[in-house]
Structure formats: structure tokens, C-alpha cells
Symmetry: C2
Subunit: 168 residues, 2 copies
Amino acid sequence: MSTVADASPRERRQRLLTDLVARYEVASQAELVALLAGAGVEATQATVSRDLEELGIGKQRGADGRLAYALPEPGGLAQVLRQFAIDIAASGNLAVVRTPPGAAAAVASAIDLADLDGVLATVQGDDTLLVVADEGTSGHAVATALRERKHANPARAAEPAPGGDPTT
Amino acid sequence: MSTVADASPRERRQRLLTDLVARYEVASQAELVALLAGAGVEATQATVSRDLEELGIGKQRGADGRLAYALPEPGGLAQVLRQFAIDIAASGNLAVVRTPPGAAAAVASAIDLADLDGVLATVQGDDTLLVVADEGTSGHAVATALRERKHANPARAAEPAPGGDPTT
DNA sequence: TCCTGGCGCGTATAGTTATGCGCTCCAGTG
DNA sequence: CACTGGAGCGCATAACTATACGCGCCAGGA
């Protein structure tokens, strides 16, 4: 598929965009158009807008509260799972995730940080990790949730889950 | 400080906003205004815009590529560092991060996942982790980068390199 | 009490981003 | 070759967001 030698102008532009967004605090598409032009790539704001959508790039607040373009969260759980979770199974109140050797810890802490509903704790070895389900939940449910995270694309939050809410 | 009993209308509104953004995929401020109204809170789009800035809320791509408001990244490196990195020091080609007992692994994998420039690898114990700098980089440089991540926010800060002038 | 400064917010509008429409450039077919 | 369908993109503009400005409210000092 995407060979590096493949230099369609479209791909080149998008690659450059990703790079610009990662490296600088860019606040507007007009700015991106200018930066692209500076790199010898012509494009209009409309094209950039469409590219940003395809690349999954959004706007987040910088240190000063200003909006700046940002790549899709690289530390997100979905990303980690997609990269490292070879297999996700369940037994009793446990979900079991297999990973490449040495990657279990990374997956475990990503799960911990994601603070998923129904997850009580994680323990990991080298290439395997156990996810302990809360009482009232099953390992299967947790495994399913993890699989969803893995296959559903992005990092987002939009759930019914009326229980256990810190606010309000 | 922010007592729960403190029912300033402003604070109430912002709390509600945070909640709405966390729970639903909201695409526009007009929508937020409507949702607020539905919860009995009157506000205009301008006010919402200002609130979002204060709350650090940005727009990220949802599953379908559409933009939706999103809370500041909870799993991000900055967040992890702020929460767990007690001290960041350096010696030779190493940066040394102290954490609360047991948290070193989480910080290490967050750093791994962030894929920082100049970072070759990480090794961690229970409450300490070593970050090995690339050749050509120093432990001090890495430590500085980590401190910046900790104190600044997600995106980077820099100057447009190619003489592009983002005029307005 | 009157004055003064700061904060919060609405209004109006400038600034920014998304998108309907139509054109051009292929690749695949007959 | 001519024909057809689809992808990619620019133009113009609608949709959306940020902000300059001004007003009203409130606390502190004279």
C-alpha cells in the first residue's frame, strides 16, 4: 500500500500538513496555506480544510488557551490497543490481553489512565495483562469494551452511562 | 475556593458545559447554548465561547471525522507528568524522573507513547524511571523537554521556520 | 453615600472553517 | 477513440467562532 516512494501531490501535501501541525502551533488554515506555499506546495483553504478532516486533525488549546491544530491524540487508548493488543479474551471476572513481548505494561497503564467504567485494576506480566472487572461487571463485558475501543476509531467520549459521574 | 455550595451562575454554567462536552458529541456552540437552555441555564454563544476557552476545551474529530468539542486530553503526557512526576533531573545522557511508588511504569509508557525527539528508551523501577537520551542529545535536554511538557500544554511552541508571515 | 476599578456578559461584527457546485483529469469500457 | 464515472480541487458562500465595545453590577476606599 502506501509506499514511501509514492509521491502523489495529494499525499505529499497531507504528509507535510501532518508535519507542520506536529511541529508548530498553527492557529488557522490560512496560516497552513502560507506554510505549505513556503514549502513549495500550492493549496487553497478549502483543500486544507478537507485534508485536516481526512487526517483527523482537530484544534486544541495551547498553553496560553489559544486554539491550535493538533494531531489525533497519540497516547489514546484506542491507538495503544490497535498497536499492541494481539488478542483480547475473557474468563470469569477477568479480561486477558495478549501483547508483543514487553508491551503489556504500556497497555496496562493506558487502560489505567483511561479509567474505564467497570475496570477495577490491571496486572501485567511481560506479554500478557489481566484486567480485573468490578463486581457487577464481567470479564466479558470488559473485554468487549476494550475491543470496541480498539476497533472504534478515535479517542472520544460520548456515552449514556448515567452511573458514576463526578459532576453535577 | 470552589466550594460545591458555591453556586455562582458562572461556575454552574461552566460545570454544566464540561459535563455536556464529556457526555455528548457536540458540534457547535449554538448547540451548547441550546443544551444549556434545556438545563435551565441561559447564555449566549459569545459567553459559551469564552467559557470554552477558560475550560481549555477544544474540538477534535469524532468517529465519523466530524469535529466535536472535547475536554483537554486526559491521557496526555502533560497530564501524566503533572500528576506523577515529582522531580525531573538529569545526569550525563540520562534524565531521571521520580514518581510516587508504583507510578513509574505509567509515566514511562506515557513517555514512550509520546515518542519525543531525543528520547531513545526508558527503563523504570517502582518509583523512579530513567530516560535514555539519543546520542547527540543530553539528559539535560531531555529533562528540560519533559519539564516543558509538564508545565506547558499539549501542543508545541515554535516559530514558523520558512519565512511565512501569517498576516491577518 | 459617591466614586472608581474590575468583572461578567450581551450585541454586533470581524475572522475562520466547512461545503455546494462545477470543472478537470484520469482509468476503465465498449 | 469516444463515453462514463469517480476522485480531487478551486471558487464562492454559508456556517460557525472569537472579539471589540459598551453596559450594569458589585466591592473597596474616601
